[in-house]
C-alpha cells in the first residue's frame, strides 16, 4: 500500500502529459463553432457587386441549396480556394453566391475577370455589416444553405478538395444536389 503510493506523483505526471498530448490533436482554437448552424440565414439587404444600384435580400438565396462564400481580394486564402470553387461551379449543380467582404469594388471586379467567376451573383459588403450579421470574423468563410435558407454547414477557412470530399459532399447528398460523376469519383 505504502509502496503503491510512491507511484502517485508519476501517475499525476503521466495524466498531465496525456492531456497535453491530446491538446495537440484538438482543432485549431481559431476555429469557433458557428452559432448560426442549424438556424435560418439572417434577413439582410445588400447591393450587388456587379450592379450596386440593385439591392437584393434573403429571398434571393432561397429555392435551391446554395453555398454562400465570403471572400475578398485582400485575403490570400481566398485565392487558394478560388480554383476549387471554379471546379465546383464547372462540375456540379451547386449554386454559389459570393459575399465580397470589406473590399474595393474595382479590385473585386478585376479579380473575377482575371481568375474567373464561380458565383451566381456577388453581394457587396463594404463595411462588414453583413459579415457581423453572419458572425463572420475573417475570410474566407462559407455557409451551405438548404432550399429553405437554413444553414446546414459552415466552414471557416478555405474550401479545398479534402473539405469538399469529407464535409461538403455528404451534405450535398443529403440535400440531393447533383454533384456530377467527376466530383463523386473524388471519393
Amino acid at each position: 500500500m505504502k509502496r503503491a503510493r510512491l507511484f502517485l506523483p508519476l501517475v499525476i505526471f503521466l495524466t498531465i502529459i496525456a492531456f497535453g498530448y491530446a491538446g495537440f490533436e484538438l482543432n485549431d482554437p481559431h476555429q469557433l463553432p458557428s452559432a448560426l448552424l442549424n438556424k435560418p440565414f439572417p434577413e439582410f439587404s445588400a447591393p450587388l457587386l456587379a450592379e450596386p444600384a440593385r439591392v437584393v435580400d434573403r429571398q434571393s438565396l432561397l429555392g435551391t441549396p446554395v453555398l454562400v462564400n465570403v471572400w475578398a481580394t485582400w485575403c490570400p486564402t481566398c485565392k487558394a480556394e478560388h480554383d476549387e470553387l471554379m471546379r465546383i461551379r464547372r462540375e456540379t449543380d451547386l449554386r454559389i453566391v459570393g459575399i465580397n467582404y470589406k473590399d474595393q469594388r474595382a479590385k473585386a471586379l478585376r479579380w473575377l475577370a482575371d481568375y474567373g467567376n464561380p458565383y451566381d451573383f456577388v453581394l457587396q459588403d463594404l463595411d462588414g455589416g453583413l459579415g457581423v450579421e453572419l458572425g463572420v470574423y475573417g475570410a474566407p468563410e462559407s455557409f451551405l444553405l438548404d432550399a429553405q435558407g437554413l444553414i446546414v454547414y459552415k466552414r471557416v477557412g478555405d474550401i479545398n478538395p479534402r473539405v469538399w470530399r469529407d464535409e461538403l459532399l455528404p451534405q450535398l447528398e443529403t440535400l440531393e444536389v447533383g454533384v456530377g460523376s467527376l466530383s463523386a469519383d473524388l471519393r
Binding site: G128, G129, V132, G135, V136, Y137
Partner: protein
C-alpha cells in the same frame, strides 16, 4: 508554524484569484455619445466581450479589423437602436456564440469549466486535512523524556518513550498530540500539577 504559513498562502491565493482580471485598452475610435451614461455603458460592453479573432483580447483592447467592426456595431446598437446591455449581449452571442462572452453560461458543455476549480480546492482541502492529522505522532526527544521521568518521579517506572507513549503502573500517563494527561493525579513529581502540556 509551517502549517500556519501554508494556510496563509492558500488564503492569499484564493483571494487573489477573485480579483479583477488585468485588461488592456488600446482602441482609438472616435464616437459621439448623447450623454456620459451611454458612453460608460458602451465602454463597459466593449470591455466585456472577447474579440473573435484574437483568442484572448477583449473588444476594447484589440486592433483587429473585426474588433473595430464589432465596436462600431455595439455603438450603433447602444446609441442608435437603444438596445439594453442584455440585448447587446444576446445580439453578439447569437452571431458569434459563447466564445465572445468571457463568462460562458453554465450548460452541459461548460460544467467542467465551472466546477473544476471547486474540485481542485476540495482536493487541496482533503490533502491539507490529512496532512494535519498525520502530524500528531512525533517521538519525544531526550530532554523531554527526562522531564517525563522527573514528573513521574522515578527513573525506572517502565516508561516506554520510543513511540511517544508513557505508561506508568499506578496512574497512567498518555501522551497524545503533544499533551500529557495524568489520570488520578497519581504523580509524585515535586511541582507537577495533575495536568500539564508539553511545550514542543
Amino acid at each position: 508554524m509551517t502549517l500556519r504559513l501554508l494556510l496563509i498562502c492558500a488564503v492569499a491565493v484564493l483571494l487573489l484569484s477573485f480579483g479583477p482580471p488585468a485588461r488592456a485598452a488600446a482602441q482609438v475610435d472616435i464616437y459621439q455619445f448623447p450623454d456620459s451614461q451611454t458612453e460608460l455603458r458602451y465602454r463597459g460592453l466593449i470591455d466585456e466581450f472577447r474579440c473573435p479573432k484574437c483568442l484572448n483580447t477583449n473588444l476594447a483592447g484589440s486592433d483587429a479589423p473585426i474588433a473595430r467592426d464589432l465596436r462600431r456595431t455595439v455603438h450603433r446598437l447602444v446609441v442608435t437602436e437603444g438596445f439594453t446591455d442584455d440585448q447587446v449581449r444576446d445580439f453578439l452571442q447569437e452571431r458569434y456564440g459563447d466564445f465572445v462572452l468571457y463568462s460562458p453560461p453554465f450548460k452541459p458543455g461548460t460544467w467542467i469549466l465551472w466546477l473544476a476549480p471547486l474540485g481542485f480546492v476540495l482536493c487541496g482541502a482533503i490533502i491539507l486535512l490529512r496532512t494535519v492529522r498525520h502530524q500528531g505522532a512525533v517521538p519525544l526527544n531526550e530532554s523531554e523524556q527526562r522531564r517525563i521521568a522527573a514528573i513521574v518521579g522515578t527513573a525506572d517506572t517502565g516508561a516506554h518513550t520510543e513511540d511517544g507513549d508513557v505508561n506508568v503502573e499506578d496512574g497512567a500517563v498518555n501522551v497524545e498530540d503533544g499533551a500529557v494527561t495524568v489520570e488520578d493525579g497519581a504523580v509524585t513529581g515535586k511541582d507537577a500539577g495533575p495536568q500539564m502540556e508539553l511545550d514542543r
